[in-house]
Each structure stands twice: as C-alpha cells, then as structure tokens.
C-alpha cells in the first residue's frame, strides 16, 4: 500500500527497530503524524543527536557521550576491581542492584565462532591491557551462563593465566523467592555444586 513517499519512508525506517513489523510501524507512524507531532519532533532530534553524539567509552567500551563514560570517570568507585559484562543492559542490571562498586568492562557480545565473533571483535586485547595498566586485583567475569558466555569467561581467564589477578565468576543458582520445583535441572545441579556452609 502506497502513501506519500514521506510516510512510506517513515514506516520503512521504523521497521529497523527490534520487534517492529509492518503493522506496528504503520501504527507508530500514524500516531506520530496524527496526534504526536511534538513527540515526533523530540524523537527526531534525540535520534539525530544520539546517533552522532554517542560513542564507545575508550576505557570500558560502554556507550558514552564523552571520551570516557561516567562510571570510568567517577573517583568514588573502587579501583582494582573490574567486572566484565556482555552488554550495556547487563551493566545496568548490576548498577540497579546497587551492590557492586568497582569498575566495568563491556564486551558488547560474547565469543561465538558460528556468528563470526572472535576475541578481536569483543575487545579482549583492550581488556587485557586495562588489567595490566590499572593493576587490577580482582576480575569478575559476569558473562552470561550460556555456552558462549562460559567460553568467553574461560578464554579471558586463560589469557590471564600466570598473572597475579584473582579471577572470579558469578554464582549460578536458585532465584531468591523461587521454588525448587520450578527450577530447571541444569540450574539446580549448578546450585548443588555451588552449595556453601550455612554458617561461615
């Protein structure tokens, strides 16, 4: 169905968003044109600014507006502890939990040979350089508990073999408030292997 070229172009462009198909894109476009002109303007300028202004932090690879991101600049954060995560959303989850006060390194992916992602694509060399330069004493490997996440964690640990760095991995186990009956067998067996003395 052809509208004016401008509308068609808008609908087509909206489809680049995840989870947005033809129908949703049309609904969004019509909404913006009919009732949300000011929102549309704001979206347009925000998109434009973000696309030209947001880059990767030179220190942790996370998205940043400046050369280095807020977390890397923050003097109150603990130096010497580095947490390696796969994506900015993982970093956000950890930040929201509020427990961790060290610094981060965002891989922006995981090792996945079938997808063509090797050590170079996720910035392993930069991570290793940072570990040396900042005298990191503990490296927390918070990659996802998938085969690729494990491979990534093992690869990093392997590359740091022989260096004086404590390498830790997040525990896998039963979610707080969960019921054992609903936990899958893999998680349960991990939880068993990772059990701890009750009073320590």
């Amino acid at each position: 169905m052809a509208f004016s070229p401008l509308v068609d172009e808008l609908v087509e462009s909206l489809r680049c968003l995840p989870g947005v198909g033809q129908k949703t894109a049309q609904r969004m476009a019509f909404h913006l044109l009919e009732r949300g002109r000011s929102g549309g303007d704001r979206l347009a300028s925000a998109l434009q600014e973000a696309m030209s202004g947001v880059r990767r932090c030179t220190s942790c690879q996370n998205f940043a507006d400046t050369e280095t991101c807020n977390i890397c600049e923050d003097d109150h954060r603990q130096n010497g502890i580095l947490c390696v995560v796969e994506s900015p959303s993982d970093l956000l989850a950890i930040e929201q939990a509020g427990y961790y006060e060290g610094r981060y390194f965002v891989l922006m992916g995981h090792l996945s040979p079938i997808d063509g992602i090797g050590p170079q694509e996720i910035g392993i060399e930069q991570l290793l350089r940072r570990v040396t330069q900042e005298n990191v004493s503990e490296l927390i490997l918070a990659t996802n508990p998938t085969v690729e996440g494990e491979a990534t964690a093992h690869y990093i640990a392997d590359r740091l073999d022989g260096r004086d760095v404590l390498i830790t991995r997040l525990a896998h186990g039963i979610p707080v408030g969960g019921e054992l009956g609903y936990v899958d067998g893999f998680t349960l067996s991990h939880a068993f292997r990772g059990r701890k003395p009750l009073i320590d």
Binding site: P113, I114, G116, D161, D184, G185, F186, S189
Partner: protein
Amino acid sequence: MTDRISQEPGYVLHRRTYRETSLLVDLFTLNFGRISVVAKGANSAKSPLKAQLQPFQPMLLSWQGRSDLKTLTAAESRLGPELKRTQRLYCGLYLNELLQRLLPPAEPNQPLFAHYIETLDRLSVEDDFEPILRRFERAFVTVLGYGFAWDEVMDAGNAPVAGMHYYYDPEQGVLASPTAGSLLQRLSGEVLLQLGDDNLDSLPARRMAKRVMRVLIDHLLQGRPLHSRSLFTPSRGDHHET
C-alpha cells in the same frame, strides 16, 4: 513430509535470538540431520527452554511444521558430558562450527551423529584432544564425500613407501606426482603409513594429519573463515590446535 516429529534425539548446534522473545535454534538430529527450529517464547525470562537449549546436551526434541523453519513443541534434556575446561569447550565449539558451516541441511547421517556423541563424550573425559578431533574430522569429511585412505597412493595404485615423498590433492587424495589441484607436497611415506594404521601417537603423524585436514577443510569452506580456530591461540604453548 511428516508434519509432526516427536522425541527425536538431537543436539543444539547454535542459537540466536529471534524476534523479541523467541530463539532460532540450529539442531543436529539423528534422523533429520541439521535443521532449524523456532523455539517460541524461549528467550523470555520465565522460559525453562532457555536453560535447556544449550549446546552439547543430549536432548529429545519435538517439532512440527512443513517449511524449512519448523516450530519446536517440546524439548527434554538430560545432563550430558560437561566440556568444562577451556580447551574442551573450544573443541566443542569447533565441532559445532564445522557441522553448522559444512553439513548440508536436512541430510541425516546416523553414523556421523553417533560419532558426534562419542567425540563429545571423549572430549569431556580425555586429556589428549588432538586425535579425538582428527578422527571426527575424518568421519566428517568422509560423509561429505571427501574421504580418502592415508595408505593408498591414488595415481600409482599402491601403498606409500617409506623414504618417499607424496602430494595431497583434496579432490583426489594422496598422490605420487603433483597435479593442478595438489596443495601439499613432501608428505613422508613413513608417516602416511602410520596414519594408515590410525596411529596418531607421534608428533610428525599429528602434524601431518592436522595439516592435511586443515587444507581439506579450507578447501571445503571455499574461502569462508572458521572462527573457532582463533580461540586456540598458540601463545599459550599447547599443541591442541585444530
């Protein structure tokens, strides 16, 4: 073709996100070969499928659909071999990448499937990975129609002779004289005879098997890269390279 398959033995080769909450999963199965299925809702926070659909775990899978892309309806898994340490994990990823890149889709091959299971089992317990990988590669290239005998010189029609040197052409096998397609030369007859006896104990035998397999697999890949190779960095001083 049948629409509904149930309880088919298989393994996950690879998975990636599909739409918001689903996973697109590539499987290697006993009776249907390499196929792709959509696991609907498997990428949502609550789905137990996300934990189950992991590579290297033996599974019983059910799916339906007529098209190339089928819909997964059920998956049961039991704990399989664990590829815990680094090198084992890399080897496993290497096997999966080989299958994913080179095995034609929907062509079942039961002996190869059996070999895959055995290879995973052995990788999880044995420490000497190289012969295990080489044997899998041989079984694999044989399925693809590129099998050859180490101890048979194709153009001369006899066995290699110790002290002589030979050529290797991926399309023909071991040769006494060079051809347009021969990619390796100066292969020692003595070592070829060792490999003919499936003897991968000596370093020269391992080196030759690795070189020949690498050349053959590169020939089959036709210039496409095999990324899992980059995981085996030689800087760490081991010889378990692929």
